[in-house]
Amino acid sequence: MKSVPVTLERMGVHRGLSCTETVTMSTGFPELDQCLEGGGWPVGVLTELRLGRTGIGEMRLLMPLLASLSRKAYVLWVAPPYKPYAPALVAQRMVLDRLILVYPRTHKEALWAVSQGLLSPSVGAVVSWFSNIQEGEFRALQRRASEGGHWSFCFLPETLAPRPSRLRLALQPIQEGLRIVLSRKAKRPPTPVVIAL
């Protein structure tokens, strides 16, 4: 009698998580690409980004992806914390006409706006900022994200308890650039990466 893990290994049994092939797009930072499964930002995953404060280089991390997406599709930002500065976006080759900024008045509206963006085929990426989000709400967004082919990112404060995301990146500013600690649902030890911005 063989143990279950061995059997699974031998018979090539289909397992949802490990066998799904995720479409990815390079982050623009080779060091980070190496650490990510598939070598880039995955499609259909609500990527959780943890940061202590806004303005530590988190946008420069996403910019290569968003800029290249903005040439083909719309990019939706829900509840950005500050006013984006257009010349900086233009300098990063972002197509401004393709950027939609949504400022919801309530938390519920924010959740709604994100899920609408995740349902629309004309939107390529959804970036959202939340100061707090319930686990159930996060799961619901995650489900939506996995239905359509979108890149989606959710900025959350560091202090919040971990949410059940498939990909979580904790961002810390250091002198050399940005220190990123990756943790995935698969139980692997978190790997720190440093990228220069």
Binding site: R60, K83, D97, L99, L101, V102, E109, Q116, S122
Partner: protein, 469 residues
């Protein structure tokens, strides 16, 4: 080719809701129409008011309301438009054109019965007739013969026995014909045409030729109004949201049907909801993309009404919408990009409906050195200003607008600890024409390794202008 004529002989009477018998309608002091009771007194159209009142003192009179008559006919035309796209309005009725293959309703006889029945349901006294030419159908209907003639019948012969006085000819011609002893259509048809035209003019001959189908008929088709207006009165006041949405759904279904029949779409509309306390809640919708889908329109209204609570029970809903004749969407086959965009516009409409126009913003870049003026946030659609690349070296992603004043300790600006200047200064001196600005910009790092964009004003004060996100 077939024409169905509907003549409303009692139209001037029927526009009045209350008609106490004996009842008559006058125009320019001449009796135009009167009801059966008045006729039994010996009254007939054409009498002067004085004569009529002398014959029948109990007669109640109303001045003819031509506007109401036109409105009534317009309503009837909308009904007729469902049967055929070609409807011709006449002063006292209308003509509907059909091809030989007939109507969606069925063969001519079924159609005849159906139209007659529906007109009766609507409460009109109407004469209906079907004939191969418009003039013949009109003549039959005005003579009240209830005929259904297709081109296979001997309608030309049958027409001859109809009274001449119902033909649309000038009064002098009718008088002259009466003088000649002509009383039937057949008798005037037998006269040599050359002589007729010499005596009465060419128009009479043309009328006869149109009647017999020897000359094309030049009637202007009725064009339905380019505005959809529908008010649904609830027979009892309603409170539940479900019922309200059900009512709206009914209106929307009808509205979409009208749009389909006319190849139209809607790009803006107003939804009014009336309450029992006589307040009307009005919602105005503007769509980025013209629409005509029940789901999309219902979705927009549902999103908008989600947070609205009626102040009292609801008594009516009404929709007023100009119809756009639009081909948008029908050509998506040719360009894939357009397809992509259309889904986006739908999304934008949903955002607008739920969050309001002010919450959905777009960025555009304005060539100005002052940071607070170079970024313009506006509502959709984008301004589309010239977007040539600025030669900016390093600019922050997040703009702090207005800038925050920073504390200075020992000449070092503070923002959660002392700041370390790494790049700068970069002098920005501009705007002498409106709000002059002289600033020295620096890129600074605080103790947490966050990069900030700060500037020093000429008076030595420090400000935080942005974060390098």
């Amino acid at each position: 080719m077939l024409w169905l004529a509907v003549v409303l002989p009692a139209l001037p009477l029927e526009v009045f809701a209350s008609r106490p018998a004996p009842f008559g309608v006058v125009e320019e002091r001449v009796l135009v129409a009167c009801d059966a009771k008045a006729k039994s007194y010996g009254l007939s159209p054409g009498l002067s008011v004085t004569q009529a009142c002398a014959v029948c003192p109990s007669l109640s009179l109303q001045v003819r309301d031509r506007l109401a008559e036109a409105a009534l006919l317009e309503n009837l035309a909308v009904f007729a438009y469902r049967l055929s796209p070609r409807v011709v309005l006449k002063p006292t009725g209308l003509l509907i054109h059909f091809t030989d293959k007939m109507s969606p309703v069925g063969d001519p006889h079924t159609l005849f019965l159906k139209v007659e029945e529906q007109l009766q349901d609507m409460g009109y006294q109407a004469e209906v007739a079907i004939a191969p030419t418009a003039a013949a159908a009109w003549l039959c209907a005005s003579s009240g013969t209830r005929t259904v003639w297709t081109k296979h019948d001997a309608w030309r012969t049958a027409l001859r026995s109809l009274p001449l006085k119902k033909l649309p000819l000038a009064k002098e011609v009718h008088d002259a014909c009466a003088g000649l002893g002509l009383s039937l259509v057949g008798e005037i048809l037998d006269l040599p045409r050359a002589g007729l035209s010499r005596r009465f003019g060419l128009d009479v001959v043309h009328t006869l030729e149109r009647l017999m189908g020897e000359r094309p008929e030049l009637d202007v088709s009725w064009v339905p109004p380019s505005l959809f207006k529908r008010r649904l009165l609830f027979s009892f006041a309603i409170e539940a949201e479900e019922t309200l949405l059900f009512g709206i759904h009914r209106v929307v279904r009808e509205w979409v049907m009208v749009m389909r029949s006319r190849e139209a779409r809607v790009s803006q509309f107003t939804l009014d909801i009336g309450c029992e306390d006589r307040t009307t809640h009005s919602e105005r919708f503007t769509l980025v993309r013209p629409e005509r889908s029940v789901q999309v329109l219902m979705g927009l209204m549902r999103e908008r009404l989600r947070n609205w609570r009626p102040s009292a029970a609801i008594t009516f809903v009404s929709v007023v919408a100009p119809l756009d004749i639009s081909t948008e969407g029908s050509l998506s086959f040719w360009h894939e990009e357009g397809c992509h965009d259309s889904g986006f516009k739908e999304l934008l409409d949903r955002f607008h409906a739920r969050l309001g126009r002010e919450s959905v913003r777009t960025l555009s870049w304005h060539p100005d050195h002052r940071p607070e003026r170079s970024t313009i946030e506006g509502s959709w659609p984008p301004l589309g200003l010239p977007a040539h690349m600025p030669p900016f070296c390093d600019r922050p992603f997040w703009l702090v607008d207005p800038p925050i004043s920073l504390d200075v300790i020992h000449h070092i600006p503070q923002s959660s600890g002392p700041l370390r200047i790494i790049v700068g200064p970069e002098r920005l001196e501009t705007g002498w024409w409106d709000g002059s600005v002289v600033r020295d910009y620096f890129i600074a790092v605080n103790v947490r390794n966050e990069r900030l964009w700060v500037f020093r004003a000429p008076d030595g004060q420090w400000f935080l202008q942005g974060y390098f996100g």
